[in-house]
Symmetry: C2
Subunit: 174 residues, 2 copies
DNA sequence: TATTGTTATACTCTATAACTATA
DNA sequence: TATAGTTATAGAGTATAACAATA
C-alpha cells in the first residue's frame, strides 16, 4: 500500500524511523534502544488514538482503571503512583476526573486516616471490562502475528532488561 | 536496596508494575506487551528527566535535533513528522522554539516553494553533540549489562515486531 | 486537487513544590 | 520526622481542524 492511498489530512503515515539516525549496520546499544522505542511508541500511539476515538478516554485513565480492576480490594494512591510511574499529584488529578464521572471511589481508611483506598465502582468495572476486551484484541493484533519463538525470546530478554533497568534507574546516580 | 533508603520527596521509586494487572504465570500477548511497555517507559522517563535536568531540554527537541544531525543536508518537516510520529503542527511548534534559540534553521527551497528544509546550525550541532554523548552513555548504562545473547535476541525479535506493527498500524482498520 | 507548512484552540499529562493532616 | 494525599502553577506535547501558498 502506498502513501498516496491514505487519506491525507490529520493522518500520519507511521514509519517510526527513530532508528534512521544511527549508521547502517552498526549494532550498538543505542540502535537497540531506538528499535525498542520505535516499536513501543508506534503501538502506544495507536492505542492512545483508539482509546480516544472509541472510548473517549486516555491511556493513563485506562491504566489506572486496569490497576484497580486487578485489585478488587482497592489500592492506595501511592501504590498507583509507583506502578504507573507518575507522581502523587498526577494520580490525584486523574482520580478526581474518574470520581466525578462515577467510575472510581475513594474510601477513607480508619486505621490510617491519611490514606484512602481507591476502588472501581460497579459502573467503572463495567466500563473497564468493555475497554479491556477491545484493548486485548488490539494487542493481539499487534503481537499475535509474531512467531512463538520470537515471543518467548522477547519475554525472556525483556525480563532481564526490566531487572537491569530498575537497578540503573533506582540507583541515585552521580 | 530498600524503598526506605531512597530520598522520599518528589522521588518516585520506579517499580513499573504495569504487568501487575495480569494474572501470574499466564503467557499472553497482553502480558508481553505490558512488559515491553514497562521497560520502555521506565527508561524513557529517566531519559526525559535527565535531559531536563542536565540539558534543560525535552525528548522531542532532542530527537528532532538527532534526526537533523544524521541528515546534514537537511530534512523536510513532513519527513520529520513521519519519522517522529507526530503531526505537522507539532513539528512547526518545536521548530519555532529551536529556531528562536538559534539551534536550527529553515531554508526555503526554490524548486518547491511550499516546503522548507530544516538544518542544524553549527551551534545546534555543537550542542547536540554534547547531549548525544551523554545520551549514548545513558543508554549504555541501561542496555549494556544485558548479555550478548539477549541483545541479539531482542534485536531480531524487535525487528520482526517492527514490521508486523507497521502493517497493523498503517492498515486503515475496521 | 493534493501537498507543505502554519495557525489557533483546547485539553491532558507532567514536574515541581508548598501545603495539610496524620502517623 | 516521615508519610499520604492535595493544591497550585506553569509548561510541554498532543490532536484537531481550518487555512494559505504552492504544486
Amino acid at each position: 500500500m502506498k502513501i498516496q492511498d491514505f487519506p491525507t489530512n490529520s493522518f500520519i503515515v507511521k514509519t517510526a524511523d527513530l532508528e534512521a539516525r544511527v549508521p547502517e549496520g552498526e549494532q550498538s546499544d543505542l540502535r537497540l534502544w531506538l528499535r525498542l522505542l520505535s516499536c513501543t511508541t508506534l503501538i502506544e500511539n495507536e492505542i492512545r488514538s483508539r482509546l480516544r476515538r472509541e472510548f473517549k478516554t486516555t491511556l493513563p485513565r485506562f491504566e489506572l482503571m486496569a490497576q484497580l480492576s486487578a485489585h478488587p480490594d482497592g489500592l492506595m494512591m501511592t501504590t498507583l503512583s509507583r506502578n504507573m510511574l507518575v507522581t502523587n499529584g498526577n494520580i490525584t488529578g486523574i482520580t478526581d476526573q474518574l470520581e466525578k464521572e462515577g467510575l472510581v471511589e475513594r474510601q477513607r481508611q480508619n486505621h490510617d486516616r491519611r490514606s484512602s483506598v481507591l476502588k472501581l465502582t460497579p459502573e467503572g468495572e463495567k466500563q473497564y471490562q468493555r475497554m479491556a476486551a477491545a484493548h486485548e484484541e488490539w494487542i493481539r493484533g499487534f503481537l499475535g502475528p509474531l512467531c512463538e519463538a520470537n515471543k518467548e525470546m522477547l519475554a525472556s530478554s525483556l525480563s532481564e532488561l526490566k531487572m537491569v533497568a530498575h537497578l540503573q534507574v533506582n540507583t541515585p546516580a552521580q
